[in-house]
Amino acid sequence: MSRNPSHLPSKRSPVRSLLRLRPYVRPVRVRLLASAAVATVASCVGLVIPLVLKEIVDGPVAHGDPGGVWWPAALVLLLGLAEAGLFGVRRWLVARPLAGVEASMRADLYRHLQRLPTSFHDRWASGQLLSRATSDLSVLRLFLVFPLVFLLVNAVTFVVGIVVLLSQDWLLGLVLLLPTAPLVVLCSYFETRYALAARKAQDQAGDLATVVEESVLGIRVIKSFGRHRSMARDFWRRSRELRTTELRKAELLADIWAVIMTLPEVAIGSALAIGATRVADGELTAGTLVAFLTTALALRWPVESLGWLLAYSNDAASAADRYFEVMDTPTTPDAPETGDTGDIADTGDTGDTADTADTGGTPMAADPPRSPRTPKAPAAPDGIRFEGVRFRYPDAPEGSPDLLTGVDLHIRSGETMALVGATGCGKTTLTALLPRLYEATGGRITLDGVDIAELPRHRLRKLVAVAFEEPTLFSATVRENVAMGAPGAGEAALHKALTTSQADFAHGLPQGLDTEVGEQGLSLSGGQRQRLALARAVVGQPRFLVLDDPLSALDVHTEALVEGALRQVLATTTALVVAHRPSTVLLADRVALLSNGRISTVGTHHELLDSSPAYRELMSGERSPIR
């Protein structure tokens, strides 16, 4: 059911695509070139062997002098050993480095993907990303190991071979050269067709990976509706599509092979006819003809392999296209990583408050502003301020109104603000703007007076901790999952966070805090997952806390306990809490009502109950139904 933004292969030359691999190949280029050179020499050695054979046949053998065979034979042996050794050296030279090239491309892809904005990941099916990181990259590695080198080697071998042939007998040589022109034409015709099919097959393989992934992640839904069969049918259909494309590739390959095998052979046949006539006429020695034909036959592989090499190169070219499609997606620019962008710093990373001006009264803003372009630090921390924040999802249809149309909200430092609103009105979206998972399309958001757009992202995210509405845990231990919120947090902090979120059940798990929680934490109950996610958010004692409906999966008693403990945490942080129920709202000092893309009212729970019918309706469910 999934597609990725379909990138139809544009008219791009495979060579250009492959040339983009240069930066990755550069570190190993010496070895790669050496390997190609060695392979060329090895092939040429292979070509010399028939010449020596000719000497033997025309010389000692023809003269009935077997004693004279020894030296040339020793030469053949020597050449043979050299050839073997060179082949080995060529492989040895590139074995590890090319595996390294693949690995570094994969690491780069992973690194880049982790830093691409969330909106990118919204768009791309994960199977497509995965197939790029695995199959495509191994195609590229194999391309560098064989086809690339062989393209070069075979071309050189071919040229050398032709020169040898022409020097032996130019007429016969020319006959052999005749099929070159039609071959070139046919090959390029083949190439364009094959490239399209190759790209299609790779995309389809990516889709297949997506279907597999979804079928496993959604196994609970599939099982609870007994949908194995329709899933299997869907998978089958897609596999058939892939099969069709692969067969198409095979057909193309079959045709070009036929041409590539037949044409040169026909030329050799003609050369045989002409050669034999001339030997009979005495214009040519039998030895020369033998050597000539031997050389010609030795050239067969370089020519025949062309079909295979072209196919492989095209596979590799479209793999490179697919790879660079992702790598070319720019990450959203980040603020420069200098200390002067803000007067907010984590208390942990200061230490350079030397040229202190006046930090009085701002215990949290330990880093004084040092750059003239930073806004002046206010006397007291300002909290979170949304000013005319606008947002629309990048893929929203043309002409549709923005989702957030000017949110103005001020959460005072130390205050807890509840954010309420109807289902789908944009609460989660608004909270996602704070750690810059999405970039606001208008207006600005400031934390203690500093525009978040001017903070380097990882510093911003250190300041702001989030508990998402879907408590996504990773397949790791409880400890790792919670400590993720504050790398380097001590055991004490961990325990405190678990206590705050009433997640002490974790100590009672089979291996205590070292119990694996399973993929996505699914071997825990819903409420347990949610509490761990909450612990993860509070463990680092962040300055700003965003909780998206953090108590939705808890029963009334546990909820009350969590609230009690959470109040202490909230007392020292500035927090935005998305809430659906009055009980959650009560965590907050004030409540903001989001409707129609803006904050329509702000006040305490009781004030709003009195003054705002919309709020009353939202909290009690009386009167009109949703939206």
Partner: protein, 640 residues
């Protein structure tokens, strides 16, 4: 485009290879599969792709055999074609020898007949070799693509048939690795490797025969040189087996890590896991890199030893041949042909290496796949399915009985101690209790995600274990606590409940729970793509879609596990109002923390630490002094 036919299998949930499921678990005396018995090691770390049961030797070959068997005729055809093709190719040098030894002397006698004949035959052979090659590629591509199709399907269906218990341990990444990267390894073997092997073997046989025919002494010497070659190949295989196993394991770990990161990209970014992940990924990626490098080095070793041997043989035979020509025991042309053939005889050693390479890689991959396929579902299909009795009366609801049921997850702690519970047909039961009390577990037993460790769950008197999947799903459907949407349109997602539903029915289901308005407001309405995991719509909207899906399925017993937890209160109210009509006559189990749900329930069960501690009509319980009364009071107070 080939026409799309149905999957070959009648039932997607039957085991992949078409054999009936061998139930390890007899319905009468339920004992758990050995893999899951208490005392087995804790689940493997997620990155660790070592199998719990390394498959016994030979299974991968057996798997390959079972994959190829249905295509034996086509494989034979491919062999035949390539046999002829090689004959055509290898005739070349023979014809050259003939031309030199016979046609040239004849020409000198002004008899051009032999030469013309030779050249004609040569050209015919050239054409034949090209056309046969093309034919071979087509036929063998068909075989290999069909094999891959079959294998992919088996993996997929098998993974679907395996129980949740298995999935919790195996992780999605490893299944993806099996279905993609491991299948790719086999693809390489089939598309290139096998062709190499056939060609290598054939040309070796052909040339040996020709050489023997040309001159049996020299020929025998050449044939004897295969013996050392065999040993070289064998030692290569022995040395690389371990290397390739490592490669497969390493690539699976890379995939696991990769998919998990991409699926959790928001927390990854929000919690600044990028650097730490990079490091971890580097470790896994390096293991893969090393394994790849090692296999390439082994290959280099093989090529050197094989080539050295081959070239030494050529030199030796050359000397010997020269002596024989000088003796007059051998004709010059024969000698020339012999030398040509010899070079060619050893040409394929490189290709032999490539074949061995892909064979080893595929064998390691097939081992992994076979190990996956060897897992038997812990929740198997019944061997003798029993149909549900016809519903009594008009009402769709059915009676549910938990009969001495106990349950423990894999780890062995008993989550639900032995209990009995009877829910009469048509009753709406609310299950409440502290988080982690076992409410979802109870529900999961009722949809048969797991089989109870002891006792049984019965639907209208029939043990769930005796119901076939389609029958079971007409009986019981559950909206799980985590609402999972597939990428695809809203309509497709709702239609998961009933694939043959019309658009009207889909819209009707959405309307019934108040989801219609928001869906209609989406850019493309019901045809809006909700993206992976339904990321295009909000959490509450996802829940509504998941709910609509269950309504559409129209089951006898409907289980709702926290199905409204992310809705706003008006939305929740609307759903509850709808439930009055929707649940009428149906048996329903509603797990909820928001006690407003209780208002629509006929009966309330309060659970605590796996036990049902209170059971009664809502009004009774609220009026009493038990836990539920306190709980309800606390909840009342939490309202506006």
């Amino acid at each position: 485009m080939t026409t799309v036919t149905e999957p070959p299998e009648e039932d997607g949930s039957a085991l992949a290879d078409g054999r009936p499921a061998q139930t390890v678990q007899a319905p009468e005396a339920p004992h758990r599969e050995p893999a899951r018995s208490p005392g087995t090691p804790p689940p493997a770390a997620p990155d660790d792709d070592t199998d719990e049961h390394p498959s016994p030797p030979g299974v991968s070959r057996a798997l390959l055999g079972s994959l190829l068997r249905p295509h034996k005729w086509r494989t034979a055809l491919a062999m035949g074609v390539i046999l002829l093709q090689q004959a055509a190719v290898l005739a070349g040098p023979l014809l050259v020898a003939f031309a030199i030894d016979r046609a040239i002397p004849a020409l000198r006698r002004d008899d051009s007949g032999p030469l013309i004949a030779v050249v004609c035959v040569y050209i015919v052979c050239a054409l034949a070799s090209g056309l046969l090659q093309a034919l071979f590629i087509r036929v063998s591509a068909r075989v290999s693509q069909d094999v891959l199709l079959d294998l992919r399907g088996r993996i997929f269906r098998h993974a679907q048939a395996l129980s949740l218990d298995f999935h919790e341990r195996y992780t999605s990444g490893r299944i993806i690795a099996r279905a993609t990267s491991d299948v790719d390894a086999l693809r390489e073997l089939l598309s290139e490797g096998l062709e190499e092997l056939i060609q290598v073997a054939l040309s070796a046989v052909y040339i040996s025969v020709v050489l023997l025919a040309l001159d049996w002494e020299l020929g025998a010497a050449a044939a004897a040189s295969f013996v050392p070659l065999y040993f070289i190949a064998r030692s290569f295989r022995r040395r690389t087996r371990e290397v390739y196993r490592r490669t497969r394991t390493a690539v699976a770990s890379v995939i696991v890590r990769f998919t998990e990161t991409m699926n959790g990209i928001r927390p990854v970014q929000a919690f600044r896991r990028e650097e730490a992940n990079d490091k971890e990924f580097h470790r896994l990626n390096s293991a893969y890199r090393r394994a790849n490098g090692d296999s390439a080095l082994e290959m280099a070793r093989f090529v050197v030893s094989a080539r050295t041997m081959a070239n030494a043989v050529i030199a030796a035979i050359l000397v010997w041949g020269a002596y024989r020509v000088a003796d007059g025991g051998l004709e010059l042309g024969v000698m020339a042909a012999f030398v040509l053939y010899l070079r060619r005889l050893y040409d394929p050693v490189d290709r032999l290496g490539m074949f061995l390479n892909s064979y080893q890689s595929a064998a390691a991959a097939l081992d992994k796949i076979a190990a996956l396929l060897a897992n038997r579902p812990a929740v198997p299909e019944p061997r003798q399915p029993v149909p549900l009795p016809a519903p009594q009366g008009e009402e769709p609801g059915r009676e549910v009985v938990f009969d001495g049921v106990r349950f423990a997850y894999r780890e062995g702690v008993e989550v639900l101690p032995r209990f009995d519970l009877k829910i009469p047909a048509g009753q709406t039961v609310a299950v409440v209790g502290a988080t982690g009390a076992g409410k979802s577990t109870l529900a999961k037993l009722l949809v048969r995600f797991y089989d109870p460790t002891g006792g049984r769950v019965r639907l209208d008197g029939v043990d769930l274990r005796d119901l076939e999947t389609p029958e079971l799903r007409r009986g019981v459907v559950m909206v799980t606590q985590e609402s999972f949407l597939f990428s695809g349109t809203v309509a497709e997602n709702i239609a998961v409940g009933r694939p043959d539903a019309t658009r009207e029915q889909v819209e009707e289901a959405a309307r019934a729970i108040g989801a219609f308005d928001f869906i209609a407001a989406l850019p493309e309405g019901f045809d809006t793509d909700v993206r992976k995991r339904g990321g295009r719509i909000s959490a509450g909207q996802r829940q509504l879609v998941a709910f609509a899906r269950a309504l559409l399925a129209d089951p006898a017993v409907l289980i709702l596990d926290e199905a409204t937890s992310s809705l706003d209160i008006p939305g929740e109210r609307a759903v509850q109002r709808a439930m009055h009509t929707v649940l009428a006559g149906r048996t329903a189990v509603i797990v909820a923390h928001r006690l407003s749900t209780v208002e629509i329930a006929d009966r309330v069960l309060v659970m605590d630490a796996g036990r049902i501690v209170e059971d009664g009509r809502p009004a009774e319980l609220i009026g009493g002094t038990g836990r539920f009364a306190t709980l309800h009071r606390a909840w009342r107070d939490s309202l506006v």
